[in-house]
């Protein structure tokens, strides 16, 4: 589904992505973790070309993302992207957030788009909030709407960029549940997150990134039980005992 | 045959002298009005921030009464209307002098001060009281707290809008044409009617206005780069 070949990216002289090569198979769930500034968000943002790259190749669902003749908007419309900050459109209702793109870009009739959106909102547990405006929802609810909005384009692939990092702790669970159900339905997912419980239970593979490189990739059981790279061991111990670490 | 654009007309001769005299008058109007408006603006801002209700209200009334009337109407009033209200002797004394420029300066000063006082007021209000308390808690005196902590922050917030009000003042001096002050716009029109070289005359005036405006905008940019507002 995704082929990343020798991708390099610089911000000025800073080497943000170093020779990344990865594959994601159809139906696979890949979690990317790593300390802040490791390049994990940058990597996921290159997958739908929100960030330019300087060398390498990324093929998503058979389309060369940085190819010269790629139709960028059509390409992006087939990749669901969920942001850390939700980024719902505040001036239109929850339902309209979920029907805007399908009516304009998939050519659905308003009534069809509405029915589909309501089904999706029901799936994320928010059908009752269809008429509400994003500002009236909690962070967790907004993020679930953002997932429904992305799904409304019927993408074969979903990308999540730290979807729970901006949430209050008590709202993290509801979002992760929606994501877990999505994974169980066979969605291909790449997910940047610090939620190690989610990685352990849901991921097929976990990647660890630091300083722009993927240092380790393994199935979750291996990843957590037998981390090889010293920096991964450090990272895992830091996130397990943040208080002791700081003290 | 006359050239399409007669540059010589702008560089030497009578017309050149007229235009330069106009430019100097415009600059003087700006300078004098600014010098008068700034202290007045600070005074009005302090009045509006005072705890006394009557003072607050009268400050508000002053600012709103001035801002909601066009500068042109202010000028017409100070030039045509106000002198009639004065005793005859004083009026004749005024008419013997430069009544046009005086009326223009009064109008420009009041108008500019009304706008500037709002900038000063919101600049002072933008600094939270805790900053002052924190300085006092560290052991600084009242004056030292003001001088070292509050004022440096307040100035950074206030000076950029004051510079942009100065830009408005500079452009507003052109309206003094209406009451016959021989400033840049007036002189350009005079050259136009004397020489029929409207393009050259207006190009000169436009270039002066624009050049000075760019300098003022540049000053604002420099200040913001040199003294950025930093939030904690």
């Amino acid at each position: 589904m995704i082929k990343i070949e020798r991708v390099n990216k610089w911000y000025g002289s800073y080497h943000a992505l170093v020779d990344i090569t990865e594959d994601v198979a159809k139906g696979e769930v890949v979690v990317v973790c790593g300390p802040s500034g490791s390049g994990k968000s940058t990597l996921i943002r290159t997958l739908n070309r929100l960030e330019p790259i300087q060398s390498g190749r990324i093929v998503v669902d058979g389309v060369d993302a940085y190819g010269r003749h790629v139709k960028l908007n059509a390409f992006r419309s087939r990749i669901g992207f969920v942001f850390q900050q939700f980024n719902l459109f505040p001036h239109i209702s929850v339902l309209e957030n979920c029907t805007l793109a399908p009516t304009r870009l998939r050519g659905l009739k308003p009534s069809e788009a509405r029915d589909e959106a309501l089904t999706l909102l029901d799936r994320v547990g928010l059908a009752a909030k269809a008429r509400a405006y994003p500002g009236e929802l909690s962070g967790g609810q907004q993020q679930r709407v953002a997932i429904a909005r992305a799904l409304a384009m019927r993408p074969p692939l979903m990308l999540f960029d730290e979807p729970t990092s901006a949430l209050d702790p008590e709202m993290v669970g509801e979002v992760l549940l929606v994501m877990r159900d999505l994974a169980r339905d066979g969605m291909t997912m790449v997910c940047v997150t610090h939620e190690m419980g989610f990685a352990r239970d849901v991921a097929d593979r976990v990647l660890f990134m630091d300083q722009g490189k993927v240092l380790e990739r393994a199935v979750p059981s291996e990843f957590f039980a037998r981390p090889e790279h010293p920096r991964l061991r450090q990272f895992l111990s830091d996130i397990r005992t943040p208080f002791l670490q700081a003290a | 045959m006359t050239p399409l654009f007669d540059l010589d007309l702008l560089l030497t001769g009578t017309y050149h002298d007229w235009l330069v005299a106009g430019l100097i008058t415009s600059l003087s109007l700006t300078g004098i009005s600014l010098a008068l408006a700034l202290p007045l603006a600070i005074l009005i801002a302090l009045i509006r921030l005072s705890p006394v209700k009557v003072l607050q209200w009268s400050g508000f009334a002053f600012v709103e009464a001035i801002r909601n009337v066009p500068l042109l109407a202010h000028m017409l009033f100070w030039y045509f209307g106000a002198p009639e209200l004065l005793p005859t002797a004083l009026r004749e004394w005024l008419y013997a002098r430069n009544i046009e420029a005086t009326s223009a300066i009064i109008a420009l000063t009041l108008y500019t001060a009304a706008y500037m006082s709002e900038d000063v007021r919101s600049g002072i209000r933008s600094i939270p009281g805790q900053q002052f308390e924190a300085a006092r808690a560290l052991g600084f005196s009242f004056v030292a707290s003001m001088r070292l902590v509050v004022l440096p922050q307040a100035l950074r917030v206030t000076i950029p809008p004051l510079i942009s009000q100065t830009l408005n003042l500079w452009k507003d001096t052109s309206i003094a044409t209406v009451i016959g002050v021989a400033e840049l716009m007036y002189q350009a029109a005079k050259v136009e009617s004397a020489s029929f070289r409207s393009f050259e005359a207006f190009a000169f005036a436009s270039a002066c206005y624009l050049g000075m405006s760019l300098l003022i905008t540049g000053a604002a940019g420099w200040y913001q780069g040199r003294f950025p507002v930093r939030a904690a």
Binding site: L50, N73, F75, R76, R78, I79, F81, F83, Q85, N87, L88, F89, H91, I92, L100, A101, R104, L105, Y133, G135, E136, R149, A150, M153 | E64, A65, R67, N68, V69, P70, L71, L72, A73, H74, L76, F77, F80, G81, A82, E84, L85, L167, K171, D172, S174, I175, T177, V178, M185, A189, E192, S198, F202, A205, S206, Y209, L210, S213, L214, T217
Partner: protein, 232 residues
């Protein structure tokens, strides 16, 4: 003052209409409304161009806006007065001259309000719209601009106040708006300049103060609604 109003109120409000062209306060208002109405779409286009990712669009428009904002409105009016006829090949009357100058001038200011509004929306909105597959222009039209226009309603009312005040400069080209009419009345009465111009000022004040209070209310209302939503 009462007999002044009694004699001249109709002239003050509509000029010589219906026995001559429409003027006075009515003309002031018509000019301001049409000026803002025509300036808005132009300002929208300029504002979008100001933040365009394409340099060949962004730079010339930015330069044009800088030039207009660095020039007094009076200068723009003079240019329009002397050069519109040669541009269009026919005589332009004062009304259209003034309207053209107002539209150009206001569009430059509106463009900056719109630019600030677009930049205030935040990158996340554009990114999420683009991620859904919308083109740059669709993201602008469907997601960014609706939010910008809603947020800028108070600024728009304030710009209308500014435009009303700007129309007074039509005086200089003999446009019979309300300041010009006031001067006509002053010339006819001769003995009451202070009263005539106070009445003129009062008229502007009632109009502009009322509108600025309305803008203030809109802004507060908008803030409260946003806050209420965020807390719900």
């Amino acid at each position: 003052m009462i007999d002044l109003i009694d004699t001249y109120w109709l002239y003050f409000l509509v000029g010589q209409y219906p026995h001559g062209p429409l003027g006075g306060l009515a003309l002031t208002l018509i000019l301001a409304v049409l000026g803002l109405l025509f300036a808005f779409p132009l300002g929208l286009v300029f504002g979008i161009a100001r933040v365009s990712p394409w340099r060949c669009v962004r730079w010339p428009v930015s330069a044009l806006i800088q030039v207009v904002r660095g020039t007094p409105l009076l200068m723009v009016i003079f240019w329009a007065y002397f050069f519109l006829p040669s541009l269009t090949g026919q005589n332009t009357d004062q009304f259209w001259t003034m309207l053209t100058a107002l539209v150009v001038f206001d569009a430059a200011y509106l463009a900056e309000i719109i630019r600030a509004g677009i930049q205030g929306i935040g990158k996340g909105q554009t990114e999420s719209a683009r991620s859904l597959g919308f083109s740059y222009l669709d993201a602008m039209r469907l997601v960014i601009l609706p939010q910008v226009v809603r947020n800028m309603l108070p600024s728009l009312v304030n710009q209308f106040v500014a435009t009303i005040k700007e129309t007074s400069l039509g005086y200089i080209i003999g446009l019979t708006e309300v300041s010009f009419i006031a001067t006509q009345i002053n010339t006819q009465v001769l003995t009451k300049p202070a009263e005539v111009y106070l009445l003129l000022g009062l008229t502007y004040f009632i109009l502009c103060f009322g509108l600025s209070r309305f803008a203030f209310w809109l802004e507060r209302h908008h803030q409260q609604r946003t806050l209420a939503k965020a807390h719900a």
